[in-house]
């Protein structure tokens, strides 16, 4: 699976304004709403589900990366977006580091395989430190789109 298969370009945010965990999650879900990827009626339910998942254990998974996610019956296919927080956000990560790079995923309840393949892709690509560093330093959504596109085309040699 490639980034292009699940990341909504219009919902990418290079400069998150929120400074706490719930705030950045809300900002990213709002971005998906603005991009027309989720229903306004479901927005709050999706945010709550993602926050509930965080209660089970932080999705801050090391190296300044977090993957907040949930299953949600309102989506018919895997929907995701990417965002960067320049300041970094306290995510209660396993390694204690602030999170700068976030991948938010919403998947249909009956498609756990797609969710796993998206995680696998994120993990594989972020193994390349250059890619990871460039993403965190991206100045615009367009930069991020281009970086993801290059990663999809194996230009980071991951």
């Amino acid at each position: 699976m490639k980034f292009a298969d699940f990341v909504c370009g219009k919902a990418i945010r290079a400069n998150l304004e929120a400074q706490d965990k719930e705030g950045v999650i809300r900002e990213m879900v709002q971005a998906l709403l603005d991009a027309g990827k989720i229903d306004a009626d479901e927005q709050e339910s999706i945010v709550k589900a993602i926050l509930k998942r965080e209660e089970l254990g932080s999705t801050g998974i090391g190296r300044g990366v977090a993957v907040p996610h949930t299953k949600h019956p309102s989506v018919e296919q895997l929907v995701g977006t990417v965002a960067v927080s320049k300041e970094g956000v306290n995510f209660s990560s396993l390694d204690g580091e602030k999170v700068q790079l976030l991948f938010l995923l919403i998947s249909p309840p009956d498609r756990p395989g797609d969710h796993l393949r998206a995680l696998e892709n994120i993990s594989r690509q972020l193994r390349d430190e250059t890619f990871c560093r460039f993403l965190k330093r991206a100045h615009s959504a367009e930069d991020i789109v281009q970086l993801l596109d290059e990663a999809d085309n194996n230009q980071f040699g991951a």
Partner: protein, 154 residues
């Protein structure tokens, strides 16, 4: 007692196509200790199958890392020749992309290798204590009972 709790006599399974977790086996000793004890004697391996519907998801990987870190032994986990440090980060582990039905190789090297494998295999056998179920359909208080997954990790 499920098979996962058997101690000793584990199948001597190697990783992938003859690829062992190089580097892992050198931790906590290495060649200088060979005169004292052979590290190979402290290496245990086991193959487990992912049996939960959700596969080896992020929460599962997090529980695995936290569990592995409780032990002194070096821990490696691999699938089809792709081997990662089991004590690294969940981000590394989900890179295995292990789905339901996939076989995963576990390797522990060190004084508590057998105990480490027992605990790690038990995580797989228990479906990682929870399914990663946060669907809003039962959103009211459904997670209260499963939120103590950390009990597994001590």
């Amino acid at each position: 007692m499920p098979w996962a709790f058997r101690s000793g006599g584990n199948r001597d399974q190697t990783f992938g196509a003859g690829r062992s977790a190089d580097g892992m086996t050198k931790q906590g000793g290495g060649r200088h200790d060979r005169s004292l004890f052979n590290m190979d004697d402290l290496k245990k391996t086991r193959t487990v199958t992912v049996t939960n519907d959700e596969g080896f998801h992020l929460r599962a990987a997090t529980l695995f890392v936290l569990c592995a870190r409780r032990f002194r032994s070096a821990v490696a986990i691999g699938k089809e020749g792709h081997v990662v440090d089991g004590k690294s980060t969940p981000l590394q582990l989900v890179g295995l992309g292990a789905c339901r039905g996939d076989e995963v190789a576990l390797e522990a090297t060190g004084p508590d290798a057998a105990e480490a494998l027992d605990a790690l295999a038990a995580l797989f056998a228990s479906h990682f204590d929870i399914e990663e179920s946060t669907q809003p359909t039962d959103r009211e208080d459904s997670s209260e009972n499963v939120a103590d997954g950390d009990a597994v990790t001590g």
